[in-house]
């Protein structure tokens, strides 16, 4: 009996030893040599594997970053500048700082602003809904409200507001990975610069319809009137296809466009004080009045310098007549 137990233990242990040795030797023989920096870089990454950088995951990013000659094409939006500094330190590269970004939902079509015109009972997915028709409201550009962006977010930063029917971005959680922007079939979500202390100004509408049609569909739509473009003194706003867009690089956050917008399509967020529209409007009117006066004065001066233009015109006419007669 005892001998059987001893033999069993011996044989099993012996077998284990032999196999362990074989495994060790095979592992040594077929070892994959990997740049040790890849592991270091991967450790420095947030490890979310969200794909926001454009690579399949953090490991793929690390592999590519180690091989790349510089870090121009590599940026981890989740980790941001801090992570990129660490990665650059490991690899000995220089890193260009990028302004932190955040996802911005550019649609104002709350249940109040944008009444429903029909009932949708199909699959609860924005992608599917977008292939079927323009949506259950009069606006064919706005949010479809099925929450594909919420499902796409790996950081729990998006949620649907049941009151408005629109997605809401939790700025503290948003990493600007861009998954929601890709998931949205209407391309409403934009990654914008977070701005100083989170302050930013944007047009919360992407409706390309002409003014009356846009207004009919949604009370808070951008109607492409161009008042904001005329108001802006920094040249930050462009009007294309009946919808305005504020360039975050040029915007100085003066909030004048927001005060002047007739539909309230322009939103300013995270400003310390609420916007006093009347004061800003008065300021703009005062400035425009001064500008008009200055322009009038300038044209007067120009007239005086060039002589009386009425006489000049008459002279030209006379000369022309003589030419045709001759």
């Amino acid at each position: 009996m005892t001998t059987t137990i001893i033999w069993t233990i011996a044989i099993i242990s012996g077998l284990g030893l032999v196999l362990a040795l074989t495994l060790y030797l095979v592992a040594q023989r077929f070892k994959v040599v990997e740049d040790p920096r890849i592991e270091l870089v991967e450790k420095a990454m947030p490890g979310a594997n969200c794909g926001g950088c454009g690579f399949a995951g953090c490991h793929a990013f690390a592999e590519s970053a180690v091989k790349a000659p510089n870090l121009d094409n590599h940026f981890c939006p989740v980790g941001g500048n801090d992570t990129m500094k660490q990665v650059a330190a490991i690899l000995g590269y220089e890193v260009k700082e990028k302004a932190p970004m955040v996802a911005v939902v550019r649609c104002n079509g709350t249940c109040e602003n944008r009444p429903k015109v029909n009932e949708y009972d199909g699959s609860l997915s924005c992608r599917v809904k977008a292939t079927l028709y323009s949506g259950d409201t009069g606006c064919s550009f706005g949010c479809l409200g099925c929450g594909d962006c919420v499902a796409a977010c790996k950081f729990g930063a998006l949620s649907m507001d049941p009151k408005t029917g629109l997605p809401v971005v939790d700025e503290s959680k948003c990493t600007a990975c861009g998954a929601c922007a890709k998931a949205c079939p209407k391309a409403i979500i934009e990654l914008r610069k977070k701005g100083p202390r989170g302050m930013r100004e944007y047009v919360s509408c992407v409706n390309k319809d002409k003014g009356p049609a846009a207004k009919k569909a949604c009370a808070a739509a951008c109607i492409g009137c161009g008042i904001c473009v005329k108001t802006c003194t920094h040249g930050a706003i462009v009007l294309e296809n009946n919808v305005a867009y504020i360039d975050p690089d040029k915007c100085k956050l003066c909030r004048e466009c927001e005060a002047m917008c007739p539909t309230g399509a322009i939103h300013g967020v995270n400003f310390p004080k609420p916007l006093d529209k009347d004061a800003v409007k008065a300021r703009i009117q005062e400035r425009q009045k001064k500008a008009r006066e200055a322009a009038a004065a300038a044209s007067e001066a120009a007239k005086a310098a060039a002589g009386d233009p009425v006489v000049n015109k008459a002279e030209v006419k006379v000369i022309k007549k003589e030419e045709s007669n001759g």
Binding site: D121, V128, T131, S134, G138, S140
Partner: protein
């Protein structure tokens, strides 16, 4: 003898052809029409009129924008009011030509009499040219430009022309009424298409829930055969009623017992399929010089009291058609353009009719209510019902996971969007919605890949 039908899948929805006894009626011309420049598969047509121009009925207002495109004619006489975007029946913007109607003056040369012209032009090229100039597109639903279909690529030989009179969609009866009331024209149109293709055999396939049409067309074919040799080889075939028999590939299977391969075209197995209304349009274009400016539309539904089969000018606002018949009934919850299986829900009644509009259907809330969605129990009913031999439950799962390469490997691009899977699903899963979205995505990827491959091949050639 066993009743002929296609071999795989299919479902048997109630045919609900409640408007089958309503004679074709000509709808009065509306005060304004909106004619879309893109109402066929392929490139949109390019407008050749300007705002303020006076146009006559039958005048060309847009020319083909490419090889795969079609002429568009004014369906009314009047003044061009605007050319620009307008919301279509699903609410998306489409470029339309708006014409305010003044009188009804037709272009010279169009024969508007009812006399049947049975002498057929003998030159195939001249026939195809006339069809092209007539702006004829397939009226079975896909609106494929007919002149392109009748010009098979070199090396491919057509062996049989099939004229599709199945009308397997429930409720729709416009093809049936056309067969009954304009049967002679349809048969002459068939002979013209047969001549254009240079084939000996043509089959007019009709489902056996329309025995009157089968009898009538058989008699017409016999009479015309006795008159001229041009009609030799035309047969009438009765098929068992089963949805989607009117699908091109299903019909070829039913009539010729041949299967079109995945990604293939009917011409690969020697077949060309055209709808009966297309045959009528071909007759009118070739024999009467009348371009495709009107089509027959069934307006039906149990809750709709004034069912009708109307001949409607292209571009007529849907609201005008409905108001002519007494307006939207109160109990209607859903309005569909086309039939209940493949039709599209209309979210904008201001939209105008197109060449391919076959029906307007009103359904009540009870009829359209979706079953609450529950989990897939892998019963396989969808796979049994799919007439293309696909596995909808698998495609649904892959589409939800976004696996486009596996979707392609499982032939999502072969889906004909007939809705048999959704119809048969006991769990109420919106299979069709999800699969058609995935199909669009995969087809987009395949198209982009083909374009990239072509560009690469051209670049290599240039080197």
């Amino acid at each position: 003898m066993a009743r002929r039908t296609f071999s795989i899948g299919g479902v048997h929805p109630a045919d609900s052809k409640i408007s089958r006894d309503c004679k074709l009626e000509i709808l009065p011309t509306p005060p304004v029409v909106y004619i879309a420049v893109s109402q066929h598969i392929g490139a949109p047509a390019v407008p050749v009129v300007a705002v303020g121009d006076k146009v006559k009925t039958g005048q060309v207002i847009a020319e083909p924008g490419g090889f795969m495109s079609a002429y568009i004619h004014s369906s009314v006489s009047g003044t061009v009011k605007s050319i620009g975007p307008r919301k279509d029946l699903s609410g998306n913007n489409q470029v339309v030509i708006e014409i305010a109607v003044e009188g009804d003056e037709w272009v010279d040369g169009i024969d508007r009499s009812d006399t049947l012209v049975t002498e057929i032009p003998q030159d195939p090229k001249a026939i195809i040219e006339k069809i092209k100039l007539g702006g004829v597109v397939g009226l079975g639903g896909a609106t494929f430009p007919t002149h392109v279909k009748l010009s098979p690529p070199p090396g491919k030989k057509c062996e049989m022309l099939i004229i599709n009179g199945c009308e397997c969609e429930p409720y729709l009866t416009s093809d049936f009424r056309t067969l009954l009331e304009k049967g002679e024209q349809v048969v002459v149109g068939t002979a013209i298409i047969k001549k254009a293709l240079g084939v000996d055999k043509a089959t007019i396939a009709i489902e056996d829930n329309k025995p009157e049409a089968i009898d009538h067309i058989s008699k017409v074919v016999e009479t015309l055969k006795a008159k001229s040799a041009d009609f030799a080889g035309i047969e009438v075939m009765s098929l068992m009623k089963k949805y989607p028999e009117g699908g091109e590939k299903q019909l070829i299977d039913a009539v010729m017992n041949r299967q079109v391969k995945s990604g293939g075209l009917p011409i690969d197995v020697g077949a060309v399929v055209d709808n009966v209304c297309t045959a009528l349009a071909v007759y009118e274009a070739v024999q009467k010089n009348k371009p495709l400016i009107d089509n027959s539309v069934t307006v039906s539904g149990e809750c709709f009291p004034h069912q009708a089969n109307l001949v409607v000018r292209v571009g007529t606002p849907l609201k005008y058609i409905i108001d002519y018949l007494g307006g939207v009934p109160e109990s209607a919850a859903k309005v569909i353009s086309g039939g209940p299986m493949m039709g599209k829900a209309i979210s904008n009644l201001e939209a105008a009719s197109l060449k391919g509009t076959g029906g307007i259907l009103f359904l009540t809330r009870e009829q359209t209510k979706r079953m609450p969605e529950s989990s897939c129990i892998r019963c396989g009913k969808c796979a049994e019902a799919c007439p293309m031999g696909l596995e909808p439950f698998l495609l649904n799962r892959l589409a939800k996971a976004g696996k486009t390469d596996e979707l392609e490997a499982n032939a999502v691009q072969d889906c004909i969007m007939c809705g048999c899977c959704l119809y048969s699903c006991p769990a109420g899963i919106p299979l069709l919605d999800i699969i058609s979205q995935a199909r669009g995505q995969v087809m987009g990827i395949m198209k982009a890949r083909a374009a990239a491959a072509k560009a690469a091949a051209e670049a290599a050639k240039a080197k």
